[in-house]
């Protein structure tokens, strides 16, 4: 049955209202404070480490983001861990919150489709995430310039922007997951717990599970060396089901320009390669293309599931 009218009527109104709500909510302020403090700590540690090492480095600015100083992990490691938390904080009560506030039927009685509400909420969250990421990146760059006395090079800025885009896709996946749980579960507490459980699974346990599962599915035959390769490749594939793995690989390729591959390479394939020489940006971008496409696809799929679930829901609470 064909319906008349654009499903996008009202999307921008919903998105802007959601973004404004998030920017002023105490919850968001707390989470961002946590991110900001850890980020400043990590960068500060990295600067101390960089100052202590003597030696020329073409990409000193990128080292700012990737250098870890014990006991603090690097800025990128922090962000990979905490970005999902920010997304979950933004999305876990997006839909069920409207039911518990009893605003759902009133909003849906306005001349908009349900599509606009869900899409608007998703876009509103993405806007906030983008603003936060850009702010964070500018802050870190400024801190680097002040404390190192070095401006970033053009290539470093390019890589930094690419890193921001990847981070947004990564955060988008988690926002879609949070949105899905907020649609499926009627209680915000349940949906928050479910989203946090998935976050912990991927952030901490997935790395342990992947080798175990790969070992069970493809055991190594001592007499056949190819089985070891097979198992390793399977392990890689399994761990890449986690958005955290994909994000980690993208960060690696973008912020360590000397990264040449994200998978297994045979010695024969490395013939003629200058080990340790950096790749141009275009080659690094090529390297992460599958990962980025994978994240965007995951985001779309999860959002679609949430969309279908939401369309089938009865409005009356």
């Amino acid at each position: 049955m064909q319906r008349e009218g654009s499903p996008f009527t009202g999307v921008s109104a919903v998105a802007l209202k959601e973004a404004a709500d998030h920017m002023t909510s105490a919850r968001m302020h707390l989470v961002m404070l946590l991110v900001l403090l850890t980020a400043v700590g990590a960068i500060y540690g990295a600067i101390g480490q960089i100052k202590a090492t003597v030696g020329e480095d073409q990409f000193l600015f990128l080292r700012l983001l990737t250098t870890a100083k014990d006991p603090l992990p690097s800025f990128v490691a922090f962000l990979g861990f905490l970005l999902p938390l920010v997304s979950i904080a933004l999305g876990f009560d997006a839909i069920n919150g409207e039911y518990s506030r009893r605003t759902m039927s009133r909003i849906l009685a306005q001349p908009i489709y349900r599509d606009a509400l869900l899409l608007g909420k998703f876009l509103g969250g993405l806007i906030v995430l983008a603003i936060c990421l850009v702010t964070l990146w500018l802050l870190m760059t400024g801190m680097g310039i002040l404390l190192l006395g070095l401006p970033p090079s053009g290539e470093e800025i390019l890589r930094g922007v690419a890193y921001l885009i990847c981070s947004l896709a990564y955060a988008g996946v988690w926002l879609a997951i949070a949105l899905l749980f907020s649609t499926v579960f009627r209680s915000p507490a349940t949906s928050a717990m479910a989203a946090l459980a998935v976050w912990l699974l991927f952030a901490i346990f997935w790395g342990m599970l992947a080798p175990l599962v790969a070992g069970v599915i493809a055991p190594i035959d001592q007499l056949d060396p190819m089985t070891a390769v097979h198992q390793l490749e399977l392990q890689k594939s399994i761990s890449r089901l986690s958005p955290n793995t994909l994000y980690g690989e993208m960060t690696l390729a973008l912020l360590n320009p000397e990264t040449r591959t994200l998978g297994l390479v045979f010695m024969s394939q490395l013939q003629g390669a200058l080990m340790g020489a950096p790749l141009p940006f275009s080659q690094s971008a090529l390297l992460i293309w599958p990962q980025l496409a994978g994240l965007v696809a995951a985001m779309t799929v999860v959002f679609t599931i949430a969309y279908v679930a939401f369309q089938r829901q009865e409005v009356r609470a």
């Binding site: 009527t9 209202k17 709500d21 506030r101 039927s105 009133r106 909003i107 009685a109 001349p111 009356r316």
Partner: protein
């Protein structure tokens, strides 16, 4: 009166094997106040949601303001204001901001938004708290804010689901007055309630729902006449005479039922007190007391479903 504003034919909604609404026929004319009455769970809210296109009917057709709510939901929702049961607002936004959000959603031109919001808030007497957070509003204020939303959107039709539920008597009275004002503005109003007596005063016509069907539909007085035998109730207390026998022949008197302690209830289709007095006195009885009241919808409802139950 041109074509009806709301027209439903054979409307049915099933949740699994349970029919929440079955085979509903309903017509609401422009400019009237139509009451959808019935106990909880009788299908009122489901019917309203189907009129708005928020729930898809299992079968049947609906036209609202000439549009089909399932093919042209935006056209219908642009013309119909809806106030849900136990309406909610965004607690962290002020009354004005809450209305500004729905104004943007309903596509009101930006230049008009501010003036229309203030005018609507003034009409529901919330203009002095326009910038207070909706989180601090009482239930009555929320209901009035919801009415303000309908006013602001300048809808042709207002559908109010349980507008008076949970309100104290004064807030209820204020809300009923507001509904009266909406009607004077030329709006068609559909309101649902389980408090039958309360809304009978403002409704032109009512439909009594029972288990997903319309049991009775029509003007309150007509229904009372049909079911009770009259729109008026006279309580008669008399001695020394057989009251039912004396009154049964009188013109305009419906049925006579004994209450306690020599008191009788007489259903009549007009004020028949003089005739009753005359016939009791002329029969040699002593008339002690007599009081008249309008039949209430509650009685109609109870009596009607007693009859349905007896017939079954």
């Amino acid at each position: 009166m041109s074509e009806p504003v709301i027209e439903a034919r054979g409307l049915t909604k099933r949740y699994g094997p349970v029919a929440a609404v079955s085979g509903l026929d309903l017509t609401v004319e422009a400019g009237e106040v139509f009451g959808v009455l019935g106990p909880n769970g009788s299908g009122k809210t489901t019917t309203i949601l189907m009129l708005l296109g928020l729930t898809e009917p299992t079968s049947g057709t609906v036209r609202v303001a000439g549009f089909d709510p399932f093919r042209q939901p935006l056209q219908v929702k642009r013309r119909v204001g809806y106030m849900p049961d136990a309406v909610g607002f965004y607690d962290n936004l002020s009354a004005r901001e809450n209305l500004a959000y729905t104004a943007r959603l309903s596509g009101i031109p930006a230049a008009e938004v501010e003036s229309r919001i203030m005018e609507a808030l003034r009409k529901v007497r919330l203009d002095d708290v326009a910038d207070r957070r909706a989180g601090g509003f009482s239930r009555g204020m929320r209901q009035r804010l919801a009415i303000a939303e309908v006013l602001m959107r300048q809808c042709r039709v207002a559908i109010l689901d349980e507008p008076t539920s949970g309100l104290d008597p004064q807030a209820t009275q204020e809300l009923l007055e507001l509904i009266g004002e909406l009607r004077r503005d030329g709006m068609t109003i559909v309101l649902s309630s389980h408090l039958l007596g309360l809304v009978q005063t403002i409704c032109d016509r009512v439909a009594l729902f029972h288990k997903g069907k319309i049991g009775l539909i029509g003007k309150v007085d007509d229904l009372a006449r049909e079911v009770l035998g009259g729109a008026y109730v006279v309580e008669v207390e008399a001695e020394g005479v057989d009251v039912p026998k004396t009154l049964s022949g009188l013109a305009g008197v419906g049925r006579v039922t004994p209450l306690s302690g020599g008191t009788f209830r007489v259903d009549a289709d007009r004020d028949v007190r003089p005739e009753i007095a005359r016939s009791i006195v002329s029969a040699g009885g002593a008339l002690r007391n007599m009081a008249i009241s309008r039949s209430s919808l509650d009685e109609v409802y109870v009596r009607y479903f007693e009859q349905v139950a007896h017939a079954a």
